[in-house]
């Protein structure tokens, strides 16, 4: 469960197909702040407290110079304090010179997505003989998934530009055609202000891209029942009731799936009173599934959250992988639990793009078995058509 205590839902703002729901903190968290490096040259405009009094965090894929030598590196997964895990980023001289000093730099999208997924999916722990050598030594990495950069999602750039940030706003839930695209929460409003424009550089699944293209969203207009009103005070009460109802509806219905989402939570790092964890969904098919990273305090209240919504195909793949992992990566047990034959499981893995994980001879064997069976079931035993 994701605990949104301390964050209040405010009325949404819509633009085209997108609905942006702001989350506001009455009291900002002051002892967890964005790493000063993220503010870069603009350090003077924000009032960061003394370095010793807060824990710093660095968002995933943020690029900065962390080491003494001058090479930039990207944070690999969201990190507390200082990126312990980072990937050096090699840029050609020409590119490096073009970089705007004031702009926040994040990894290019495809790298960010791959890294994110690699973090979430390990690989077979038991070296069953079916798995290829590569799968065992390197896990499922590099997992390549398709995602769209925010700038490609229709209207997102304008939606973020005309969005009116609330005072004290620390988070945003972004809906495309009323289906949750991503959730983003930070500890402090100033951090939010800094990172708000970077949402357009963020990654979104194919589903979001499609929804934004075809399904406009409408405002939920406020409705006041005038039979209940006999004085301005009643009017005010009605207005407040409307806002309360919206917040309840949003938290329980619109964001409900996300808040109930995490099926597996992996604690990654602990620092001071904060815990960084990553979560995976249950990979239930045909519903929303989000993967993400959270930072929570000792009482489990949310300080930082960043999610990525999986597409239908990704959910299917995730479902396969998680079932495999559940059964210790044993083909036989997994096939049994899915109530299919081992060979069809092999074929399903291949179709999901995991063919390279299985040893080539094993895969060939599976293919033959499946083909045999189709031939046998075909009338007059004709050969299967060429693939």
């Amino acid at each position: 469960m994701i605990d949104l205590t301390g964050l209040e839902t405010r009325p949404a703002q819509t633009w085209g197909a997108l609905r942006l729901v702001p989350l506001v903190r009455r009291e900002p968290i002051v002892d967890l702040r964005l790493h000063a490096k993220v503010y870069g040259d603009e350090l003077s405009v924000v009032s960061l407290p003394d370095r010793t009094s807060y824990t710093a965090y660095v968002p995933h894929a943020f690029v900065a110079t962390w080491s003494d030598d001058d090479t930039p590196a990207a944070a690999y997964g969201t990190q507390l304090d200082r990126p312990l895990r980072s990937m050096p980023v090699r840029t050609r001289r020409k590119m490096a010179r073009r970089v705007d000093r004031k702009r926040l730099r994040f990894l290019p999208l495809h790298l960010a997505v791959e890294g994110f997924l690699a973090l979430h999916f390990g690989g077979p722990e038991i070296a069953w003989e079916e798995w290829s050598r590569e799968a065992i030594s390197h896990g499922l990495s590099p997992r390549v998934e398709d995602a769209y950069i925010g700038a490609e999602v229709r209207g997102l750039d304008d939606a973020l530009k005309v969005f009116e940030i609330y005072p004290g706003q620390c988070g945003l839930l972004l809906y495309a055609a009323d289906s949750l695209a991503c959730a983003f929460v930070v500890p402090h409003p100033e951090d939010y202000r800094t990172l708000h424009p970077t949402l357009v550089r963020d990654m979104y699944g194919e589903l979001i891209y499609d929804y934004a293209l075809f399904h406009p969203a409408a405002d939920f207009p406020a409705v006041i029942d005038d039979s209940q009103v006999s004085s301005p005070a009643d009017l005010r009460a009605q207005a407040e009731r409307h806002e309360r109802e919206w917040a309840e509806f949003h938290d329980s219905v619109m964001a409900g799936r996300l808040l109930r989402a995490p099926a597996r939570v992996e604690e990654v790092y602990r620092m001071g009173r904060y815990t960084l964890s990553r979560f995976l969904p249950g990979f239930e098919r045909k519903v929303e599934n989000h993967i993400g990273e959270t930072i929570t305090d000792e009482e489990g209240r949310l300080a930082y959250l960043k999610t990525f919504r999986l597409s239908e195909a990704q959910i299917r793949r995730g479902h396969l992988l998680s079932t495999l992992a559940e059964h210790g990566w044993s083909m036989r047990d997994t096939a049994a639990s899915l109530r299919i034959s081992e060979a069809s499981l092999g074929m399903r893995l291949r179709q999901a793009g995991f063919g390279h994980l299985l040893r080539q001879d094993v895969l060939d064997g599976y293919r033959k078995q499946v083909n045999e069976r189709t031939r046998r079931t075909r009338r007059d035993g004709a050969a299967s058509p060429p693939a």
């Binding site: 405010r10 009325p11 949404a12 703002q13 819509t14 702001p22 005309v162 009116e164 940030i165 609330y166 005072p167 405002d219 939920f220 207009p221 406020a222 409705v223 006041i224 005038d226 009103v229 006999s230 004085s231 301005p232 005070a233 009017l235 005010r236 207005a239 409307h242 806002e243 919206w246």
Partner: protein, 461 residues
């Protein structure tokens, strides 16, 4: 009794008037320049096609120069000669000269050159107080206009425009100064600022020295515009803030950083009050109790080409209403108490603030907002509906919504509610007239009155 067609006509004309007051074809917060122009162009064609006489008559209203120029260009280009020549001439007289010259250039580009157009250009040029000065300041524009209207300027001016170096010297001082400025550094200080600036660059004159010596030649607006940059060079342009139009002054105040506003508080507030008192004139203090809900949400930033324009209009209205009202209460959406500290930030909780304002039952409530009510969306409309229907059915509290932004998507200024009249606003000085015009939008007065009003305005010109 008005027919249905009359009502539609009345509504269309008001819609057009609102658009013509607010839209300048520039980028706004929610729409790009192209969308604005497209939308506006449609409206012009629609009104001109359906109500040609009313289209010409709207020139008498306080529409902005951009739209006035468009209307004049369309009228002149129209076959059969629609529109009252005197009204057009009167409107040209109120426009700034560069804009009129731009209009003439546009007519030339579009190939509009009928007898009426030529006569209009001739008369306008003849009415200029100092055409030689214009010829120096707007050289290519004057040349183009003269050529387009088939005129032969008398004496030196023709030579100056078409063969400037054919004479060894000019008798007109400003033309002679222009000739000498080519080689004499001293002569350029007798030229208008925009022309002198080019010569100064050519002679390599240091900016501080140039500003120091050109200062007496600056126009009123140039003084205001150059205040900050000249101060960097240690030059005081001596802008007379109190003499500025209210919205322009408000724009200037909003361009200053918070600490500068605080430091110069007395001077700025004094200037704003003086300008507002001038705009209020004899009406000062006659409006009874007035409340205003003023929009300082993030969208009041406008756009990079109209920086903080909606916010400046709100600030100007604040001071003007303060001057007009007997007792006044200004409510900013962000709940800042001090109008000098407003900045465009945060959402637009219009509904709540309207409740705050109505609670004390003022005589008049003025809402200055771009109409993007989003926290929560539609609450303001509901509040106004319930107020009008349930809490104040007699309409004791007059409510007017003035909107400084034209919404390209809806092809009108965004309304809050059908029960409350919405009027476009450009200059705060027009506010009293707009409150007057808003009567028509409320549906209590019909087309007959509207036509009479337009005729009266046109006759008064």
């Amino acid at each position: 009794m008005d027919t249905y067609a009359d009502l539609i006509e009345c509504e269309d004309v008001l819609l057009f008037a609102n658009a013509a007051i607010t839209s300048t074809g520039q980028r706004e917060f929610h729409s790009a320049a192209g969308e604005q122009r497209l939308s506006l162009d449609f409206l012009h064609r629609y009104i001109q096609g359906n109500y040609p006489d009313l289209y010409a008559a709207t020139l008498a209203l306080d529409i902005n120069d951009h739209n006035a120029a468009l209307i004049i260009a369309n009228l002149l280009g129209q076959r059969g000669g629609a529109g009252d020549g005197r009204l057009i001439a009167w409107r040209l007289g109120r426009m700034s000269p560069p804009r009129v010259y731009r209009l003439f250039q546009g007519l030339r580009r579009d190939g509009v050159n009928n007898r009426r157009t030529r006569a209009l250009i001739r008369d306008w040029l003849a009415g200029r107080p100092d055409l030689a000065f214009d010829a120096v300041k707007y050289r290519s524009a004057v040349k183009s206009a003269v050529r387009h209207a088939h005129l032969r300027p008398a004496g030196e001016l023709g030579d100056f425009l078409f063969a400037p170096f054919s004479r060894p010297r000019y008798d007109t001082p400003v033309l002679e100064a222009w000739r000498r400025a080519h080689y004499d550094k001293k002569a350029l200080y007798e030229l208008p600022y925009t022309v002198a600036e080019g010569f100064a660059a050519r002679h390599g004159i240091n900016r501080a020295t140039f500003l120091e010596r050109i200062a007496p030649r600056l126009t009123r607006l140039e003084r205001l515009r150059l205040t900050e940059s000249a101060a960097g060079d240690g030059v005081d342009t001596q802008a007379d803030l109190a003499a500025m139009p209210l919205v322009r002054l408000a724009s200037y105040v909003l361009s200053l950083a918070a600490d500068v506003r605080e430091r110069r508080r007395e001077e700025l507030v004094g200037a704003l009050r003086a300008s507002a008192a001038r705009a209020a004139g004899a009406r000062a203090g006659t409006w009874g109790s007035v409340a205003a809900v003023l929009d300082d949400s993030f969208s009041s930033f406008g756009s990079p080409v109209k920086r903080r324009r909606p916010l400046a209009v709100a600030l100007a209205c604040h001071y003007l209403l303060e001057a007009l009202a007997g007792s006044y209460r200004g409510l900013w959406l962000s709940r800042v108490g001090d109008p000098l500290r407003v900045r465009p930030t945060g959402p637009t909780p219009l509904g709540r603030r309207v409740i705050d304002a109505l609670e004390r039952r003022p005589g008049l409530l003025v809402i200055v907002s771009d109409g993007w009510d989003n926290a929560p969306p539609g609450l303001a409309a509901e509040v106004l509906r319930v107020w009008r229907r349930k809490l104040d059915p007699e309409g004791e509290v007059g409510i007017v919504h003035v909107n400084p932004v034209f919404d390209a998507g809806q092809i009108e200024v965004r309304r809050l509610s059908t029960l409350v009249p919405t009027a476009g606003i450009r200059d705060a000085e027009d506010l009293p007239a707009l409150v007057e015009l808003a009567r028509f939008a409320e549906g209590r007065t019909g087309l007959g009155e509207l036509r009479a009003y337009l005729a009266e305005r046109a006759a008064g010109r």
